[in-house]
């Protein structure tokens, strides 16, 4: 009885999703681009360790050449190097803000959806409140509130909130709402299903049901939002840096656009276009990859 396996046995959601992604050339291309950016982001601070000493006043505002493939900026620094370090900032901010936002949103959403009543009212109130303040105001406000503060000051894990950490913590604290909303709705649905009833009949406690039985069934929403959240985080970082509220001592794409805003009229296109294209490509890749991931992971869209 050699029954072929794939017809008799159901595939798990994850295996199925992986298979779908793997067969999708567009998604794979986007994933490759993302991997490239991540590699650049990880490597560039190791390759170019000291950014503040890079200026070279003999080669200011030079057009692209063999020595400087993307030209130099107003202080004679290589634009390639600047873009790569900008990738470091962008990817770090995108990653860290989602590391904060997604678990926070999932946890609060699951709590609200599972326990309902007063807790639900409170969490819904919390996210409605935060959602009714325009996002950019909240971000700038948090960034300002963080201005002179440090987390865990004095300990080995001191975090200076005036720099990059401030940006991603502010982003993380403002962008959990979408995830929370979705997870809450999904948890409310899952709570009513038979397998939860069965688990309850077997005597499992509330927390065990929530973490062991419901959360694994809604975690794909977290993963989808993690990839789509990158888009928002990267754009927000660009805007914050443009307003001079972003990262201070490292170059970032928003800062590059801000510094080069008068260059276009004079004919110096390289710094601006490098930053814009770098931002555009990564946002495009995350957008498409996030969409494909959603198609692959969300069974309702099959």
């Amino acid at each position: 009885m050699n029954v072929t396996k794939n017809t008799s046995m159901g595939r798990s959601l994850w295996a199925d999703a992986l298979r779908r992604i793997f067969h999708d050339k567009t998604a794979l291309t986007c994933f490759a681009i993302i991997c490239l950016y991540v590699a650049i982001a990880v490597m560039s601070p190791l390759v170019f360790p000291d950014w503040s000493a890079c200026h070279d006043y003999n080669h200011r505002n030079e057009a692209p050449s063999w020595k400087y493939p993307l030209g130099t900026d107003a202080l004679g620094r290589s634009v390639v190097q600047k873009v790569f370090l900008g990738a470091h900032v962008s990817i770090t901010v995108g990653f860290m803000s989602n590391v904060i936002a997604i678990p926070l949103g999932m946890f609060l959403g699951a709590l609200a959806g599972f326990f309902g009543r007063r807790l639900d009212d409170f969490i819904v109130w919390l996210y409605t409140t935060i959602a009714s303040v325009p996002g950019i105001i909240l971000l700038i406000a948090l960034k300002f509130a963080f201005a002179d503060h440090k987390l865990f000051s004095g300990s080995f894990a001191e975090v200076d909130l005036s720099g990059m950490a401030g940006v991603y913590i502010a982003l993380g604290l403002t962008s959990w709402i979408g995830t929370c909303r979705l997870i809450r709705a999904e948890t409310m649905k899952c709570k009513e299903l038979d397998y939860v009833l069965a688990a309850r009949a077997c005597g499992r406690g509330d927390l065990a049901i929530m973490f062991r039985h419901i959360l694994p069934n809604v975690i794909h929403i977290g993963i989808i939002n993690f990839s789509l959240g990158f888009v928002g985080a990267i754009s927000a970082e660009v805007i914050l840096s443009f307003l001079n509220l972003g990262v201070q001592d490292l170059p970032s794409w928003g800062k590059m656009i801000n510094e080069a805003r008068m260059d276009l009229v004079v004919g110096r296109w390289w710094e601006l276009s490098a930053a814009v294209i770098a931002t555009f490509v990564i946002i495009l890749a995350w957008n498409i990859f996030g969409d494909r991931l959603r198609d692959a992971l969300d069974p309702k869209l099959k």
Binding site: W125, L126, T128, T129, I130, S132, V133, P134, I136, I137, I140, A141, L142, F144, A145, S235, V238, I239, F242, L243, W253, G254, I257, N258, R261, L264, V265, L272, V276, T279, F280, I283, L284, N287, I288
Partner: protein, 452 residues
């Protein structure tokens, strides 16, 4: 229905309260003391105190259980009621006795007693040491002389009281004196004879709410918060600036809506063909270009084509470029959203029935489908209206348009707290109202939805 609306309104009140709480914590508690940006440090502590008092920053933050020491002048006359430091005393200054300057009326009959009040102190009682009321400021210019010397008269630090009927007397200030001792010493002065009474201010419910938090709520709700920088109320500022924001955002919204409706209908009509695919590709690409790039490129292109329009807001025609940029930047996501809604609708059974009956595709699309799509599209439109008044923050900053969005960014950098909190409150209120309207619209126009 009425019950639902009522419940939504109650929720809305809670949400708006939450927003005010959030802005209070962010801008008044965490942000700390902002007076350094608005009061010249060289003017000294009095100027700063005056600033605090004007903007009610001298109040305690949440509840006011503080009391004052009140010097009540019971006499009537034409002199000015003053309390002055003489011979080395700094008590009047340290106790902040300029807080309630005496009002002087021409007609002394029936006027209320003049009151000079000291600094607010939490839990003030007769046993509170006088030095606890002075915020660590010294009561004396230098170390007071010993009691033996002081009793000889002249050199001892004291307060000179001048009452409105011209009575003058001096009360001595001693080190380590409690409030109770201070009061009895002054009331026992030989010249006093009940003309000047000293008492603790009474504690009342009004006082309890005389705190920063409740002033913050009041200022927000009435839009009477005064800018630290220009001293205008928020209402005046909105009156001056809202028109600039609206002149950019309203045309941009209308145009974006119209153009994206047309494009998405077109793309949905040709769904599945290369036109559709190309359109979707364009919208995705358009969504991924950073907003800043739109602004810079738009300005540059306009500078090449018609340089006179590319500058700031000098004449009415200057709104063309910002509006154009806002429209182009918003087109991608809108077209994509509308297309999804239209395609959702096209796949429904009634469309298939109509096609089977032989209704031409164009009339299905524009008579039936579009009508059914309008509800989600209109509600989406309504939910963006509250953000119109703030204008496009970045556009206003970039093109130097003196609207509310630009004001908000400026006041955040200069920490003009009443303006930031007031504008945030305004947006939040409009947003919450638009959400309620959206829900009600759904209930009215879509009979499948029941409000509970």
């Amino acid at each position: 229905m009425t019950r639902y609306v009522f419940r939504r309104l109650v929720q809305a009140v809670f949400t708006v309260f939450g927003v005010m709480l959030l802005t209070f914590v962010l801008f008044r508690i965490i942000a700390g003391d902002v007076s350094t940006a608005y009061v010249n440090q060289k003017l000294g502590i009095e100027a700063r105190q005056a600033f605090y008092e004007k903007h009610k920053l001298d109040r305690p933050s949440i509840f006011n259980f503080h009391k004052r020491l009140q010097f009540i002048d019971n006499t009537t006359g034409s002199h000015v009621f003053t309390i002055k430091d003489i011979s080395g005393s700094m008590a009047a200054r340290a106790l902040n006795l300029h807080l309630a300057p005496p009002r002087h009326s021409a007609n002394p009959v029936g006027r209320e007693p003049l009151i000079m009040a000291s600094r607010l102190v939490f839990a003030l009682s007769a046993s509170t040491p006088l030095s606890a009321m002075t915020d660590n400021k010294p009561l004396f210019a230098s170390a007071p002389k010993t009691d033996g010397v002081a009793s000889k008269g002249e050199g001892s630090p004291s307060l000179r009281f001048t009452l409105s009927d011209g009575t003058q007397f001096e009360g001595f200030v001693k080190p380590k004196e409690t409030c109770g001792e201070f009061i009895t010493a002054i009331q026992a002065c030989p010249n006093n004879r009940g003309k000047l009474t000293v008492a603790f201010s009474s504690w009342s419910l009004v006082n309890v709410f005389d705190a920063q938090f409740f002033w913050h709520l009041w200022e927000n709700v009435t839009f009477q918060g005064r800018s630290y920088a220009t001293n205008q109320t928020l209402l005046e500022i909105i009156g001056q600036r809202a028109k600039f924001s609206l002149s950019i955002t309203v045309p941009a919204l209308v145009l974006t809506w119209l153009i994206s409706m047309i494009i998405s209908c077109f793309v949905a009509y040709y769904r599945g063909t290369w036109i559709d695919k190309f359109g979707v590709l364009l919208t995705v690409l358009g969504m991924c270009i950073p907003y800043l790039a739109y602004m810079l490129l738009g300005q540059w292109v306009m500078f090449k084509i018609a340089p006179e329009y590319a500058a700031g807001l000098f004449h009415p025609s200057s709104i063309y470029v910002p509006v154009l940029i806002a429209v182009v930047a918003g087109l991608g996501s809108e077209v994509r959203f509308y297309r999804t809604i239209i395609l959702n609708e096209i796949n429904k059974d009634y469309v298939r029935t109509a096609r089977a009956k032989g209704v031409p595709l164009t009339s299905i699309l524009f008579l039936h489908v579009l009508k059914n799509c309008m509800l989600p599209i209109l509600t989406d439109l309504i939910s963006t209206i509250p953000f119109l008044i703030m204008g496009a923050l970045l556009l206003e900053r970039f093109f130097g348009i003196p609207g509310l969005g630009d004001l908000l960014l400026t006041s955040i950098t200069s920490r003009d707290v009443p303006i930031i909190t007031g504008l945030t409150y305004l947006t939040a209120v409009l947003y919450v109202i638009s959400l309620i309207i959206t829900d009600i619209l759904y209930a009215v126009f879509d009979p499948r939805i029941r409000l509970q």
